[in-house]
Every structure is written in C-alpha cells, then in structure tokens.
Symmetry: C2
Subunit: 226 residues, 2 copies
Amino acid sequence: AVQLRQVRRTYPDGAGTVEALAGVSLELHPGSFTAIMGPSGSGKSTLLSCAAGLDTPTSGSVVIEGVDLAALRPDAVTRLRRDRIGFVFQAYNLVAHLTVAENVALPLLLAGREPDAHLRRYLMHAVGLTGLEDRLPGELSGGQAQRVAIARALITRPAVVFADEPTGALDSHTGAQVLDVLRTTAEALAQTLVLVTHDPRVAAAAQRVVFLADGRLAAHLDAPDA
Amino acid sequence: AVQLRQVRRTYPDGAGTVEALAGVSLELHPGSFTAIMGPSGSGKSTLLSCAAGLDTPTSGSVVIEGVDLAALRPDAVTRLRRDRIGFVFQAYNLVAHLTVAENVALPLLLAGREPDAHLRRYLMHAVGLTGLEDRLPGELSGGQAQRVAIARALITRPAVVFADEPTGALDSHTGAQVLDVLRTTAEALAQTLVLVTHDPRVAAAAQRVVFLADGRLAAHLDAPDA
Ligand SMILES: Nc1ncnc2c1ncn2[C@@H]1O[C@H](COP(=O)(O)OP(=O)(O)OP(=O)(O)O)[C@@H](O)[C@H]1O
Ligand SMILES: Nc1ncnc2c1ncn2[C@@H]1O[C@H](COP(=O)(O)OP(=O)(O)OP(=O)(O)O)[C@@H](O)[C@H]1O
Ligand SMILES: [Mg+2]
Ligand SMILES: [Mg+2]
C-alpha cells in the first residue's frame, strides 16, 4: 500500500543541518498492521508525515497505492490524502470553533461525500465519546480530544490509517478500547494500519514493529504468525 | 503545602451541568510526592488546575502554604503562582515565537528575578535537550516540547511542582530520565511534587497514589515506607 525508498528529510538548523530522517526504506503491505517505536526525537512523526504525503522528503521517494507522490501536483496529493488516508496527529489538530460532531464529520465534507451519521455515531460510541457531540475542543479533556482525532481519521473509511501515538493521553482501559477500535476497523475494512507508539501493548498487537533511532530504521520484530 | 477541601468544579453543558470535580478533599504535605491516576475525563487536569490556582472551584476551598486562595485578589494569586508554583501543562503551552532557551527562562523573567543560565543549562541537559536552545517550539518533536515545558516549570525552584502527564509523549528511556530529574530536584529542594500520570512507573515512584473517577477520589495507595 505504501513504499518509502531511501527517504531523507533534513532541516536547516543555524549553520548546520538536522537529519530528521537519514535514509529510511520501508514497505507497508496492504492490510498490514505496523507499529513504529523509537526515542523522542528519532524521526517517527516525520516518517509518518512523509509516508502520508503531509510532508515532502528532501530526497528519496514515497509511493502510495502505486502512485509516486513526486509525480503529482499538490492538489492531486491533497485529493489522494483526503480520499484514501486517515491521519491522527500527535497534537490532534482539531478545529477549535467546530463541535466534536462537526470535527469528526469534516473529512467527509471536505471529500465532497455524503455525511455518514451512522458511522459517526458508531465510531464515537466505540471510543467512548457518546454525549460529547456538541462540545467544543476547548471543553474536552486531553484524552477526549485525542479520541475525537481518532474518530475523525476513520470516518472516510480510508485505505491507509496513520496514527501518531494514538493512546498517548489515555489510561490503560481507554487505550485498550481505542486499540480495539483501530484493529477491528482495519480488519473489517482491510485497511493498512501504521501506528507510532511508545505503548508496548499497542506494539504487541502489531504484526510488525520497526524501531527508529537517529532518523534510521535500526531493527524490526515480526509477530510469530504474522 | 496544599489542601483541597470539598472542591467542586462544574461546567454548564447544554441544558445540564458537567461535574468535572464532584467534591474532592486532598492533603498534599510539604515535601511529599503524590501521583494522581484515573480514566480519561475523570477530572485530573481540572484537579491540578484548581490546586495550582489556575482555575477557581465552583465551591470548596484551596489553601496553598496556609493561604486560602479565595481570600486573594487575582493579581495576588498570580504572584503566588509565579513565585511558588511550577506547572507542566498537558498541552505544554509553550510560547511559539520564543526560542527553547527563552521559553525555559521566561518564568524567572516574569517573576522579576535574575536570569539563572547555570540552572537553565543544567535542567536542559538533565532532560536531554542540550543543543536545542535556539529552536522554536514548532521545530521540536512532541516529546522535546514536553521536556521544554518540564525544564520551564523547574527554573524558578518553586515550592510546589504540578505536572500533568509529564511523560505522556516520551519513550520509556526518556521518560525514566525525566522522572529522575523531577524526583531528584524535588528531594534536593524539598519540593512538593504532584504528578498526574497514566504511567505505572511514575506512579510506582510516588509515596502516595490517589485515584480519581467521575470527579471523586475513589481510592489511594501508600508506598510501604512512605
Ligand atoms: N469547558 C468545559 N465544559 C464542559 N465540560 C468540560 C469542560 N472542560 C472540561 N470538561 C469536562 O470535565 C471532565 C474532566 O476533564 P479533565 O480535563 O479534568 O479530565 P482528565 O482526567 O484530565 O482527562 P484526560 O486523562 O483525558 O486528560 C471531562 O469529562 C471534560 O469533558
Ligand atoms: N523545523 C525543524 N527544524 C529543525 N529540526 C526539526 C524541525 N522539525 C523537527 N525537527 C527535528 O527532527 C527530529 C525528528 O522529529 P520528530 O518529530 O519526527 O521526532 P519523534 O520521533 O516524533 O519524537 P517524539 O517521540 O518526541 O514525538 C527531532 O530531533 C526534531 O527536533
Ligand atoms: Mg512525534
Ligand atoms: Mg487531563
């Protein structure tokens, strides 16, 4: 579903250069469930942004469903993301002046598709947010805001779901609930699931765990029956 | 150091009322290390904000170092917070247009005190941020931003340190490093340390763990030799 080849992403930093990604090659097969772990600052969020077409590599290529992103105009990348990709941001990025229900529904609206009130209710119930439909993001707890971001990422039934530390703000019970929603939805819809996590229980549920260090893939573990 | 007595905090919610805190009484002794755990949405951030004078209870009292916050004018509460309290926000709340070094130094500046370049260097080194002094918050990873917020909370050598999920964005190694800084600083300066956490290793380091559920304290655990 997604292939990264020798992806590098550097930033200018004073007189020098920061290598956020120093040459990452990764194959994410259709229907697979991959966890990405690594120290704070190792490049996980950068990797996810490049893989989802939210950021452009300094060099190397990203191919999504057979399409090389470098060959697309920016508006075509935007359409591809909107139609095929769900993304849970590390900082959630909810729209402050829209209600929870409006935030969850927004991707469908932006994709020019019909609203899906049934799926929205199902997703909100599945992540434990029933009753919070009319709240504004500023009226939510941290973990509630995180769960809105998760429901929003799933509303378009995307082909690929990227999530950046989706259980970071959650207690173990709620975290397990969210992991369950992501897993079962991915299985039901044959989605490709890519989760950045510091949470060993999330990693334990994946078919493959890859480890990032200093912008490089350092190691990987495959589940026995993956 | 801090006493909460029957603290309630409600919000209007449509036609009804949300009880974020439903009557919490808690004693935080000078020099103690308390962890607060509980499900997402159970009132932990609200409890911390009320205890630190950042939010006003709907009813009940908060007493900090013998002073009832209700007896103070708002500017006096602000001065008390600035001089005696360090606070790590769940969303960090860094100043976007100031560098990392300026963000860490800001509380001293606001308190009208002399800069403390030595302590700032020490704290940044202790949380693993050396070399990032001139970055802007937008040029940091999530866990790096969290660690800036932690260094900032400690720069004034406050009497009481409140931290809302200070290891939430950190891998286990960096999280242990941060826990160490908080613990050893608190012991060295005889600080009162109050950490909201979902992380069992943080809870295991505390002298007391209190559990919040639906805005009430449901239970507590004391370490054997606390
Ligand atoms: N402005 C508001 N209006 C209505 N309800 C609110 C408002 N702010 C917070 N709440 C509610 O108060 C409750 C407690 O929120 P709080 O942020 O203290 O929870 P928390 O325990 O810190 O959760 P988390 O672990 O997810 O950070 C939540 O149910 C939240 O939705
Ligand atoms: N605009 C920028 N300028 C300079 N360096 C940057 C910029 N943005 C990110 N970086 C650096 O790139 C590196 C990778 O960042 P990234 O956010 O991908 O890390 P991460 O693995 O997601 O960390 P965390 O677990 O803390 O979220 C970090 O060292 C970060 O400081
Ligand atoms: Mg990150
Ligand atoms: Mg909270």
